[in-house]
């Protein structure tokens, strides 16, 4: 049979025919094309720009360029009081504001060594798990869009809408809550809130199954994501991955379980890792499946929290909030499990001022995205889209 091989710099294509070289094409000069994907591109999830070096449809290198949404979060924090940072943390990862607030509140509480009322802890867990579901719904829905399925996206947003309504009912705002304050909550939840959350859980279970049938089990979807963008566990850890991304690579690591905070130790839930039967461990499909399972686990956490929550009698959500927040001099690095991974806050206090000397947000997306260069090497453009989608970036958190 014929054997094809290439001589030189892609300038001649020859074929070897019984010891004789036959030139098929001369001067077949191929050039690499620089393709600027973004910052206005439908599937870069905001204002991410990828400078792709492409050879045909194959990507030789994709370099992420950030900063289009840089809002100087850290500089802002150095100029406002500790409680006033909370609304800014909402704007980091705007799809899961509650979780960001929770992480920040935990950090300052650690610095202050505060005791938090139990009901506050439970409400915090309930709202942040609701927000986690909302965030994963966006992740799954937009992932569908990235792969060309539009309908699951709208189903996801329909259900997210209810969660946003619930959170608005509790906090007064739909996305940027400023609800979890340092040492407490802005308000107690409304009277029927927990009942309605329970109803939501009952409502959402069949919808999640429907979503799974429509998107996750679809053969085209599986084929598009199976074995794409594989990240081995050790490399993932070296890249500092966390959250569903790390669990997608098969590492059973969840800060709610491994570095527990709040009331998570009392709650029974499963850390979702792919089993390797439906997907290659570490590929896009694993990450997607982890998110899908995590929604189910969040529902379980919410149910358990509603069962265990102390009664609201004599409860003041602001009782533990200090009058003036001025932590003693010291540093803290505190983290919480965000829908996108580990959101950490490094705070440094000088003990004199009511403003932090340094407040760094270790955003999960920023770190997860840094592996993009490795992940995208040698992939096709449609696969690149699938990989970006599976990282589930929120540019507000990447650029801060």
């Amino acid at each position: 049979m014929q054997e094809l091989d290439t001589v030189g710099q892609g300038s001649v294509r020859v074929t070897r025919k019984s010891d004789k070289l036959v030139i098929l094409e001369k001067d077949l000069a191929t050039e690499q094309m620089v393709l600027a994907m973004g910052p206005q591109h439908p599937s870069t999830h905001g204002v991410l720009k990828l400078e792709c070096l492409t050879d045909g449809e194959v990507i030789t290198e994709a370099i992420p360029c950030l900063g289009y949404l840089h809002r100087c979060f850290e500089k802002c924090c150095e100029n406002v009081d500790y409680p006033a940072i909370v609304p800014y943390t909402d704007r980091l990862d705007y799809l899961s504001g509650m979780n960001s607030e929770f992480a920040y509140a935990l950090a300052v509480e650690k610095l202050l060594d505060l005791e938090i009322p139990r009901r506050v802890e439970f409400i915090r867990v309930i709202v942040s798990e609701l927000n986690r579901i909302a965030s994963h719904l966006v992740a799954i829905g937009t992932y569908g869009i990235d792969l060309g399925a539009f309908t699951p996206f709208l189903f996801c947003f329909r259900d997210r809408e209810i969660i946003l309504g619930l959170l608005e009912w509790a906090s007064g705002a739909r996305m940027l809550y400023n609800y979890i304050w340092i040492g407490g909550l802005a308000y107690d939840v409304p009277t029927d809130f927990l009942k309605r959350v329970r109803e939501f859980v009952a409502y959402f279970r069949p919808k999640a199954v429907e979503l799974q049938n429509l998107l996750t089990e679809n053969e085209i979807f599986v084929k598009r994501t199976h074995g794409i963008g594989i990240m081995p566990a050790d490399v993932a850890i070296n890249y500092g991955w966390s959250g569903p991304m790390l669990r997608g690579s098969g590492v059973k690591w969840d800060l709610r379980r491994n570095d527990p905070y709040s009331v998570y130790p009392e709650i029974d839930f499963k850390v979702a890792v792919p089993d390797g039967k439906h997907s290659v461990i570490g590929d896009c499909l694993s990450r997607h499946l982890v998110r899908a399972v995590e929604m189910e686990e969040s529902l379980k956490i919410i149910e358990q929290c509603i069962d265990k929550i102390p009664s609201p009698e004599g409860f003041n959500s602001r009782s533990a909030i200090p009058k003036r927040i001025r932590p003693k001099a010291g540093e803290v690095y505190s983290r919480a499990e965000n829908p996108r991974g580990e959101l950490g806050f490094y705070l440094e206090s000088d003990g004199k001022s009511t403003k932090p000397v340094r407040c760094k947000a270790r955003s999960s997306c920023f770190v997860n995205l840094s592996a993009m260069k490795d992940l995208s090497k040698g992939q096709l453009i449609p696969d690149l889209v699938a990989i970006i989608g599976s990282i589930d970036i929120v540019l507000g958190e990447v650029d801060r």
Binding site: G67, E78, G240, V332, Y346, R362, S370
Partner: protein
């Protein structure tokens, strides 16, 4: 009650990990600041930072395979800028430790550990972008969040924002 026990365990583990590093490097590292919230030590000879980093990552009893965070910090009173790294041995030994490395404010250098932990690559770029310390040996040390031709290092305490950027008024 449980909270206190947890914290003390953190300090114990970190102290144990620190002792191993201290045995190896002795003078190059400072004493451990064993506070309750974030036990850390400082690398005094910043030139040996990569060596220490590799040791921390690969030593069988340390295994700090996960760099959770690296934050640039400005210390105007000391005339220095530095980085604070938070490490954890993820899924292996689960202990944590933090390390500080400092350098001079004007033109100071810190060796880059981006080859030890890939995640440090972007964290170091960010620290360079916002604080202006040079990471020697970094594969592509350029600004990451600010535009490439931005003036000054925004998170330094004495930063003055530039008046105009390409003809656009900056402080709005």
């Amino acid at each position: 009650m449980e909270e206190v026990k947890e914290v003390s365990r953190l300090v114990q583990e970190s102290t144990a990990a620190y002792r191993i590093i201290c045995e190896q490097f002795g003078e190059a590292v400072s004493a451990l600041d064993s506070n309750d919230t974030m036990p850390f030590f400082e690398v005094l000879e910043s030139g040996r930072w990569v060596e220490i980093a590799l040791f921390m990552r690969d030593h069988a009893k340390l295994k700090f395979n996960y760099m959770a965070c690296m934050s640039g910090v400005d210390y105007p009173t000391e005339g220095k800028v530095g980085i604070v790294c938070n490490f954890q041995s993820l899924a292996l030994l689960n202990h944590k430790l933090s390390v500080k490395v400092k350098c001079d404010r004007a033109g100071g250098c810190i060796p880059s550990v981006s080859r030890v932990w890939h995640t440090a690559n972007w964290h170091e770029r960010e620290a360079y972008d916002l604080f202006g310390m040079i990471f020697t040996g970094h594969p592509e040390l350029k600004r990451i969040l600010c535009p490439d031709d931005w003036e000054g290092y925004p998170l330094r305490k004495d930063y003055k924002v530039q008046e105009r950027y390409h003809g656009i008024k900056v402080p709005y």
